[in-house]
């Protein structure tokens, strides 16, 4: 396989996201110097963002600057990506496994007739097939799937791969038009964007650190202890269902079987017992810390580090220590 690899850039706050950069690392690894990694970026700010690819060794970038793509209508982007992949003769498309990335992969699998996988944490090329590893069952198991070629689309699990080192190359930007879209795709319209619940800090699905509080926090008012620790760490805030059921925090905070699945680098569970329905939403986190007054709480069986103690004493001390080492 020596066909180019296309990395689809996702843009946030005017920059390529770190899951996009992770895809470049994986693309370079798969291409093994035999084929180029080519960037793709869409939307009205695509041109200015396209340059960022050239800072990490990706010279050629296909851009579609059509404003139709600004409203995040993934269907339109999928059509543009399929056309770009065709144009550059790519056999593999990589995208960060965010909400956008997963939707893109599902659509491209059909549109571009490729075999597809999401939440990929390892990729190996063998002959004409790709072998990918991915967590399943909420991180309680891992599967390896064989994807048959000749075309592949993968959404890579965010926070899994390193970002590429800086390597400036001259940039070669190619602007292409947006292919015409079936009218049925254009019935929906975005009417408003609301920043993450508090307007501060990263959102749950995206954060590399998550601090979650459970029933042990006791009241809605006490939840600020969890939030202060999160703020010191630059982390997102999560909660167990005991908390969302009690209305201490909205259900968008809930981690677990009927809430969100997260897989940050670090997950800190505070006053959470570790029921299986909670665990399936966070077990694939890289490092798990549990703080609980009950030494026999099941959460300690899945944690890497544990503190048995009263969260009302431990959390303020921990927040202070983190502020101290981070110079806040």
């Amino acid at each position: 396989m020596t066909a180019p690899i296309l990395v689809v850039g996702e843009v946030q706050a005017g920059h390529l996201t770190s899951p996009t950069l992770e895809c470049i690392t994986v693309g370079q690894h798969l291409a093994a110097g035999q084929a180029p990694v080519i960037g793709f970026v869409a939307g009205s700010s695509a041109r200015s963002v396209a340059d960022e690819f050239s800072h990490v060794g990706v010279a050629r970038v296909v851009v579609v600057t059509d404003a139709t793509l600004d409203t995040a209508l993934v269907a339109a982007t999928a059509h543009a990506v399929a056309a770009a992949a065709e144009r550059v003769g790519a056999d593999t498309v990589l995208v960060g496994g965010t909400t956008f990335g997963r939707e893109l992969v599902g659509r491209l699998a059909i549109r571009w007739n490729a075999s597809a996988a999401s939440s990929v944490t390892e990729v190996r090329k063998e002959g004409d097939a790709l072998h990918v590893r991915r967590p399943i069952f909420g991180g309680r198991a891992t599967e390896t799937r064989r994807l048959d070629g000749p075309r592949f689309v993968l959404a890579l699990r965010p926070h899994t791969f390193p970002v590429p080192p800086d390597a400036a190359v001259p940039s070669n930007i190619e602007e292409v038009p947006l292919p015409s879209l079936p009218p049925g795709l254009l019935v929906a319209r975005r009417t408003a964007l609301e920043p993450t619940s508090e307007g501060v800090g990263p959102s749950l699905g995206d954060a590399s650190i998550v601090v979650s509080g459970g029933r042990g926090v006791r009241t809605a008012e006490n939840f600020h202890l969890v939030e202060e620790l999160a703020a010191a760490l630059g982390a997102a805030v999560g909660a167990s269902r005991a908390v969302t059921d009690a209305g201490w925090r909205p259900s968008s905070f809930q981690v677990g079987q009927t809430g969100r699945s997260v897989s940050p680098q670090l997950y800190i569970a505070v006053g959470i017992s570790g029921a299986i329905q909670h665990l399936v939403g966070m077990l694939s986190s890289r490092v798990i810390v549990a703080i609980n007054s009950d030494a026999s709480a099941p959460i300690f069986r899945v944690a890497d580090y544990g503190i048995v103690g009263d969260l009302f004493q431990i959390l303020p001390a921990l927040t202070a220590e983190i502020r101290r080492v981070r110079g806040l």
């Binding site: 699998a109 969100r260 810390v289 580090y305």
Partner: protein
């Protein structure tokens, strides 16, 4: 309004996972299958919409092998679905999300559909690929991670909120779309006994799986359980400040999770 809900049976959350003897997939011997968590949200949402719009019907569609697939469809009928279609997968079929989307799309194309609801992802393979693939197959827009959905009768539009990495996005649609729901319904309805009894006799339309066009495929070749966690390294301390210092040191120096 004709609301289609796509449902998938998955092993219940409490299942003790183990690999089948060939090591390629979950050993499903003796495993109890239930409606996937987010699919339960999708069904609940469909039933709420039906109740708010006169003359609506909910049509549950599922692709998979018997008897588990038929059972989740009967459960959906007991909860209030009006129609059910089972696209039968031969026993032992390895389920590939894209193949599943093709099978579901073929069934949906042949029935009326003003809205198609799915769970955002299933709790077993957690791929999340069926809703967007369905969108592409049916040439409809698709929205994953929908957390709130209403029908606005005044303007004849769906109004919905999705939760993404960037925050909440509000959308409206004047035509059919596919949605992947991700709602924390902590109290979905439960079926009443007479409805459960009636659901046992309800008719389920059976559709054989159409031969899929040759195309790229994926297949599970290995199913692994993580090495059992050895349990947490417990931090010994005399004061909370000491506990905090030790934890932060371990996180920085040993776990290397932050600088």
């Amino acid at each position: 309004m004709e609301i289609v809900v796509c449902l998938k049976p998955v092993p219940e959350a409490e299942t003790r996972l183990r690999a089948a003897t060939d090591g390629r997939a979950l050993d499903s011997e003796g495993v109890k299958f239930v409606l996937a968590g987010y699919d339960e949200s999708a069904l609940e949402q469909a039933l709420l919409l039906k109740e708010s719009i006169a003359g609506s019907r909910v049509h549950a569609v599922s692709y998979g092998p018997g008897p588990r697939t038929e059972e989740v469809l009967r459960a959906a009928i007991a909860l209030g679905a009006d129609l059910a279609t089972w696209v039968e997968a031969p026993p032992g079929t390895a389920l590939d999300p894209i193949a599943a989307a093709r099978a579901l799309a073929a069934a949906i194309t042949s029935v009326p559909h003003d809205l198609i609801l799915c769970g955002k992802q299933a709790g077993d393979d957690e791929a999340g690929l069926v809703p967007p693939a369905l969108g592409e197959l049916l040439s409809l827009p698709e929205f994953s991670s929908v957390v709130d959905l209403r029908w606005d009768a005044g303007t004849s539009r769906f109004r919905f909120l999705r939760s993404t990495e960037e925050g909440g996005e509000r959308w409206e649609s004047s035509g059919p779309c596919v949605m992947g729901l991700q709602q924390a319904w902590n109290d979905p309805r439960t079926a009443k006994l007479p409805n459960i009894l009636r659901s046992r006799k309800a008719t389920i339309a059976r559709r054989p799986l159409e031969p899929v066009p040759a195309g790229p495929r994926s297949e599970s070749e290995r199913f692994e359980l993580p090495a059992p966690r050895t349990g947490a390294r417990m931090i010994e301390y005399k004061t909370p400040a000491e506990a905090a210092q030790q934890l932060v040191r371990l996180l920085r120096e040993e776990a290397k999770v932050f600088p």
